[in-house]
């Protein structure tokens, strides 16, 4: 794998280039900036370090671990025990055994608890990037990579799935906190940005490899692999909301809403982000 050279310096250089490209109209400046960022992303994608997480995730899946010293190979991600290929693009979905709609991460928690004997609540309360949450990073990288290039097809057959979508829609528009922000404040209209960061409109289908179809992702700025849970957690932080529980129903409802809205778009997970 080829690693990009000093990736942190690239955006600065490229933006400087965009800024210096002569007298320009605002539209031209915007376009130059966007092009520079797109170029930067393309260079990054050439050597996505998520491959390291994927390899580790596959190994963790097959390694006996936890109090029961068992592997995750019998884990049912919705397509039957042990079926990983294509499972990710159909999550969140309803699971009979737990009676819940679950996203990838809450389902992996279930499997780690039932098959391996881990304490799911304890893992849920563990800070991102440490302990078994690190295991989770690798697992979501691998499982999502097994659906890379497939079209999102989050089910709405079961009443609990439709209910979760309806709750997710209300949560998406729910304004609160000192800034009056909802998800919709930033993600309710296409073509908007925060600073230079493009914002996908998540109340519709933003297209292949955008929004819900671009997570989990490797984050160059922090060197971490983020699942959708961590992505949403950081959104709520910036929304100035209280802390969303890991794998809580609010996060799963939003994932259901975004996933169903993105039906038919191609998942590029694990993607790479600045």
């Amino acid at each position: 794998m080829r690693m990009p050279l000093r990736p942190r310096l690239l955006p600065i250089a490229l933006l400087a280039l965009a800024a210096l490209s002569g007298p320009a109209t605002q539209a031209q400046t915007d376009k130059n900036v966007s092009d520079a960022i797109a170029q930067y992303r393309a260079m990054l994608a050439d050597g996505n370090p998520s491959e390291l997480f994927e390899a580790k995730g596959e190994e963790l899946w097959k390694t006996p671990r936890g109090p029961k010293n068992a592997t995750l190979e019998r884990c049912d991600l919705g397509k039957g025990p042990g079926v990983v290929k294509g499972a990710f693009v159909e999550l969140p979905r309803y699971f009979q055994d737990t009676g819940r709609v679950q996203d990838l991460e809450s389902r992996l928690l279930t499997c780690m608890a039932t098959l391996q004997g881990f304490d799911a609540a304890q893992i849920a309360a563990t800070p991102f990037g440490s302990g078994e949450q690190k295991t989770m990073e690798s697992l979501v990288a691998w499982v999502s990579s097994e659906s890379n290039g497939m079209k999102l097809n989050v089910p709405q057959d079961h009443p609990a799935e439709r209910r979760m979508y309806a709750i997710g829609q209300q949560l998406f528009y729910y304004r609160g906190g000192p800034y009056d922000f909802a998800c919709a404040t930033c993600h309710g209209e296409p073509g908007k940005r925060i600073r230079l960061q493009d914002l996908p409109a998540l109340n519709g289908n933003p297209g292949d490899g955008v929004g819900f179809a671009a997570w989990p992702a490797y984050r160059v700025s922090s060197g971490e692999l983020w699942g959708m849970q961590r992505r949403l957690n950081d959104c709520f932080r910036q929304q100035r909301f209280p802390y969303p529980g890991y794998a809580s129903d609010a996060t799963i409802a939003l994932a259901t809403y975004m996933g169903v809205n993105s039906k038919g778009s191609v998942s590029i997970a694990p993607a790479i982000k600045r």
Partner: protein, 222 residues
């Protein structure tokens, strides 16, 4: 440890608790939930899913009238919007000493600063204005957001050549009102209510006013 995430992990006891809270999960295959039931389920989901952290208490999820009416893909009816905006307009506190403009350089620093009020921010540290997150402001700062309109040449475009002149007064009042409580002019505005919610103090608002309206500010001079 009394942590709400306990409700949300795996296992049958947890599933039962979650199902009881949301009143859902695999009961009837045929019945369709009514909008009122979904709203109740959303409230229950919020209660079960969030915990207080740092300065971000659970009271942040309690909505005031504005937040409630603006939590929908469809805007409120014009008569309701007008009534609520008029109520918000009454909350605007104008500077008592008649000093409208501070220092545009401090205003620019505030406009750049996007920190404050998250669960990770120290409670005693003053927050920033977050302005560039959503607005173009000066010519030189190319890293700006587009959720709000461009504010480049804000004062110039409104003909403010001398902010102390009487004819500038309506623009000063309008701009101060927008910063203090953006919902007074546009009830479901995306913009935070910086004065109303005590996000910025009067001195900070003056500095932002100067950034926008001082003829020497790069917003107008460049």
């Amino acid at each position: 440890m009394k942590h709400r995430t306990l409700l949300l992990g795996a296992g049958s006891a947890i599933a039962v608790a979650a199902a009881a809270l949301v009143g859902c999960a695999g009961t009837s295959e045929t019945t369709q939930s009514s909008p009122a039931e979904i709203t109740a389920a959303t409230q229950a989901t919020i209660k079960a899913s969030f915990t207080a952290k740092g300065q971000a208490g659970l009271d942040r999820l309690d909505q005031d009238e504005i937040q409630k009416i603006c939590s929908s893909p469809t805007p409120p009816a014009p008569d309701i919007a007008a009534r609520l905006a008029a109520e918000q307009a009454k909350t605007v506190k104008y500077p008592a000493d008649g000093r409208w403009l501070g220092d545009w350089k401090s205003g620019e620093k505030l406009a750049q600063d996007g920190k404050g009020k998250t669960w990770a921010d120290p409670v005693d540290k003053p927050g920033g204005g977050n302005c560039y997150n959503c607005h173009q402001i000066t010519k030189t700062e190319i890293s700006f957001g587009t959720i709000g309109p461009s504010l480049y040449h804000y004062g110039k475009l409104r003909g403010v050549s001398d902010p102390a002149a009487p004819e500038a007064k309506p623009i000063l009042e309008y701009t101060w009102g927008k910063l203090w409580n953006a919902k007074a002019t546009n009830v479901c505005s995306n913009m935070p209510r910086f004065g109303h919610e005590a996000l910025l103090d009067e001195g900070q608002l003056r500095d932002l006013m100067a950034l926008l309206l001082d003829p020497k500010s790069p917003v107008n001079a460049d």
